[in-house]
């Protein structure tokens, strides 16, 4: 029983990690007023890049490469949707299609396989002294993949950035009322670029956590909707870091339940119901059935400076 509980909670934490990371990315982007549904595609490219980096160099170079490539792809989204004023959803969709194409293409080109990459070295686990010896808690937090700890730290860092620094205030202001922000001298376009590129950092890291954290290889289309679940977690968490983390943990718990359903004797609930729970909960959160969540006021609107 206790072993089951430990397994369930530690799986929850692991499954929630990519969601937490990507949700933080989505949050920065949307707080600045740019919808980023390209999270899904950036995660996929990040996952591939991390695997390739680990294959040719080392796992941590893979992580670094994933983050850099993630920021580059996000910059493309920023360029097209902020400067070229393309529809943000259309641009995101194009990046998602591109991501599926380019990763599949490179998988075939480099590894000659359509389905998955060979096994590469993963980032391993980190052991936390003392904590790992405490019962249950030790089993959950004591030894995890590094991304788990990185994600939890980044939640705190993101909270600090967004709510305690002038930089965070600027991001929030260009997402709520860009014209007002502009009138007090904030560079709306510049802030949005930075925020969107930051979202690429997080989504790239989330991708790396999939391929060389949770697994040790890349599987075609392995993000399989996690970018969209992360979007859901961000909304469910009301566009705040701590909220997104809690939502991601809840969604991760649903995921862990369906993975361990056999072991813990939870066979009377069809696994598909657990899989769709995050989406239903998000819709309910939006409708206000479980506390209304409201997006930033200028979310999705391109900013066009009034010419006087």
């Amino acid at each position: 029983m206790l072993a089951n509980l430990t397994a369930l909670l530690s799986t929850t934490l692991r499954m929630a990690t990519p969601l937490i990371l990507a949700a933080l990315g989505g949050m920065f982007s949307e707080r600045s007023g740019v919808i980023n549904i390209a999270l899904e595609g950036i995660m996929l490219i990040g996952a591939f890049t991390a695997m390739a980096g680990s294959y040719f160099f080392s796992p941590w170079i893979g992580v670094l490469a994933a983050v850099i490539v993630g920021m580059i792809i996000a910059a493309a989204h920023a360029l097209v949707s902020i400067s070229f004023r393309a529809d943000q959803i259309v641009s995101g969709t194009a990046i998602n299609i591109f991501a599926a194409g380019i990763t599949g293409f490179l998988l075939r080109l480099i590894f000659g396989d359509a389905g998955q990459s060979p096994s590469v070295q993963d980032v391993g686990t980190w052991k936390i002294p003392f904590i790992k010896d405490i019962p249950v808690i030790g089993g959950v937090f004591g030894e995890q993949i590094p991304f788990v700890y990185i994600a939890l730290i980044l939640v705190a860092v993101s909270y600090w950035i967004l709510f305690k620094t002038p930089f965070g205030l600027r991001i929030r202001s260009v997402g709520e009322h860009p014209a007002a922000a502009d009138s007090v001298g904030i560079n709306v376009i510049g802030m949005r670029y930075i925020a969107v590129i930051m979202s690429g950092f997080f989504a790239g890291l989330a991708g790396a956590s999939l391929s060389i954290g949770l697994l040790d290889l890349f599987v075609k289309n392995m993000s399989s909707g996690r970018g969209f679940i992360a979007l859901a977690a961000m909304i469910f968490g009301r566009w705040t870091p701590q909220g997104a983390m809690l939502a991601a943990l809840l969604f991760g718990f649903a995921d862990a339940l369906q993975m361990l359903a056999q072991t813990i004797g939870l066979t009377f609930v069809p696994r598909q119901f657990l899989l769709m729970a995050p989406y239903i909960l998000t819709i309910l959160a939006l409708t206000g059935v479980i506390g209304r969540s409201t997006p930033p006021a200028a979310d999705g609107d391109p900013y066009i400076k009034e010419e006087v």
Binding site: V80, F98, G101, G104, R108, L286
Partner: protein, 373 residues
């Protein structure tokens, strides 16, 4: 007085001439931007082919021949085109009222299941059974889209978010039914086979192309008629142009949004119904999205939201996806190149603003007077 009237006439004439010129230019832009985008997509595709040492020209000849080189290939290309006409129309119809239906894949799936269910559950004469199954699919997809329309109209929840969520709810729901309560005996996770009376007939038994293509073309004409020849269509377009003005002008914006999203969902649903009734003859457990909904976005963009354009766009992407397999097997170009080409086309069309901006800069440099557009 007379002079004054004359002046007004002169101004009127001036405005209408300017307007006609503007519209002409607008039509030209509507036409040129997709063409440039397609060419750009093909060039980028060619670059990727060169990287892997394949010959782009040869590959594109294979691409062309795979659809137009034989009757069989042409038929298979049309098989790919049918669902894209429906999902393209679905996205285009949403665009017209200013809503982005990104949920085509979910609407596809619920209709796919609903049509298959009616197809095997009932035994009826064909002239009742087939329409019944199609209508069931229309209603299922319509409800799936309509809910998003309702949430948008009543609570202002962004339809992109709800339709994404409903995609995944549909994926797992259809997965549950096809592997659980509605699963046929045997190892396959799929519903039982539908009766012959519910099948969309094929032209010739040896080819997979079915009468769904006529249905798709008829629906495209119907959508054109609804949008440009009916009051409802006028209201939809007016709402899309300016919802506040439409509301002020006495149009029931909320009701139209729900109805438009119902229609949009029903259109994407028809892609699923025809897949079940014309091709697969049952509903299989989905292991992810086929992506017709997302490709529908590209189709609608290439077609500039016009039903005729949508049909042409669907043909383009039908040719591309048909050619993808052949290019892979015959010239060793990974079929994923087609996805890259597709993404580039979407990016370019979406960036229409930059085309207009560059054109204006170019005219300015030539010394002409920049116009207001």
């Amino acid at each position: 007085m007379k002079k004054w009237k004359g002046a007004i006439k002169l101004v009127d004439k001036d405005i209408s001439e300017k307007k006609a010129k503007y519209l002409q230019k607008q039509n030209l832009v509507d036409f040129i931007v997709p063409i440039i985008s397609i060419i750009a997509g093909l060039i980028v595709g060619a670059i990727f082919m060169l990287i892997i040492g394949a010959e782009p020209i040869k590959a594109y000849i294979v691409l062309w021949n795979s659809s137009f080189g034989s009757l069989r290939g042409f038929g298979e290309m049309l098989v790919n085109t049918v669902p894209l006409i429906f999902t393209g129309l679905a996205v285009a119809f949403g665009f017209k009222i200013g809503l982005f239906n990104i949920g085509g894949d979910g609407q596809f799936l619920v209709s796919y299941l609903a049509a298959a269910y009616i197809g095997y559950m009932f035994q009826l004469p064909m002239y009742i059974h087939l329409p019944f199954a199609l209508v069931a699919g229309i209603i299922a997809g319509g409800i799936w889209g309509g809910i998003a329309g309702y949430l948008k109209a009543k609570l202002g929840i962004h339809e992109v978010i709800t339709t994404i969520m409903f995609n995944y709810i549909a994926l797992h729901l259809v997965g549950y039914f096809t592997s659980g309560p509605l699963k046929a005996e045997g190892p396959l996770p799929a519903t039982p086979k539908i009766f012959d009376t519910a099948k969309l007939p094929r032209f010739v038994p040896t080819m997979r192309i079915h009468y769904g293509i006529f249905l798709a073309l008829a629906v495209a004409v119907l959508i054109y008629y609804i949008l440009w020849k009916t009051t409802f269509g006028y209201e939809v377009r007016a709402t899309g142009q300016n919802p506040d003005a439409a509301q002020f002008g006495g149009i029931n914006v909320a009701r139209n949004m729900v109805l438009a999203m119902f229609i949009s969902g029903a259109l994407a649903g028809l892609a699923g119904s025809t897949q079940a009734l014309g091709l697969e003859y049952r509903a299989y457990q989905p292991f992810g999205f086929v992506g017709y909904g997302f490709t529908g976005i590209a189709v609608a963009l290439v077609g500039k939201g016009h039903p005729l354009g949508v049909v042409l766009g669907a043909l383009l992407f039908g040719v591309l996806s048909r050619g993808a397999m052949m290019m892979q097997s015959m010239v060793g170009v990974p079929k994923e190149v087609i996805e890259i080409i597709q993404a580039i086309i979407i990016m370019f069309i979406a960036s229409e603003y930059i085309f207009k901006y560059l054109a204006r800069k170019w005219r300015e440099r030539k010394g002409g007077v920049a116009d207001a557009s």
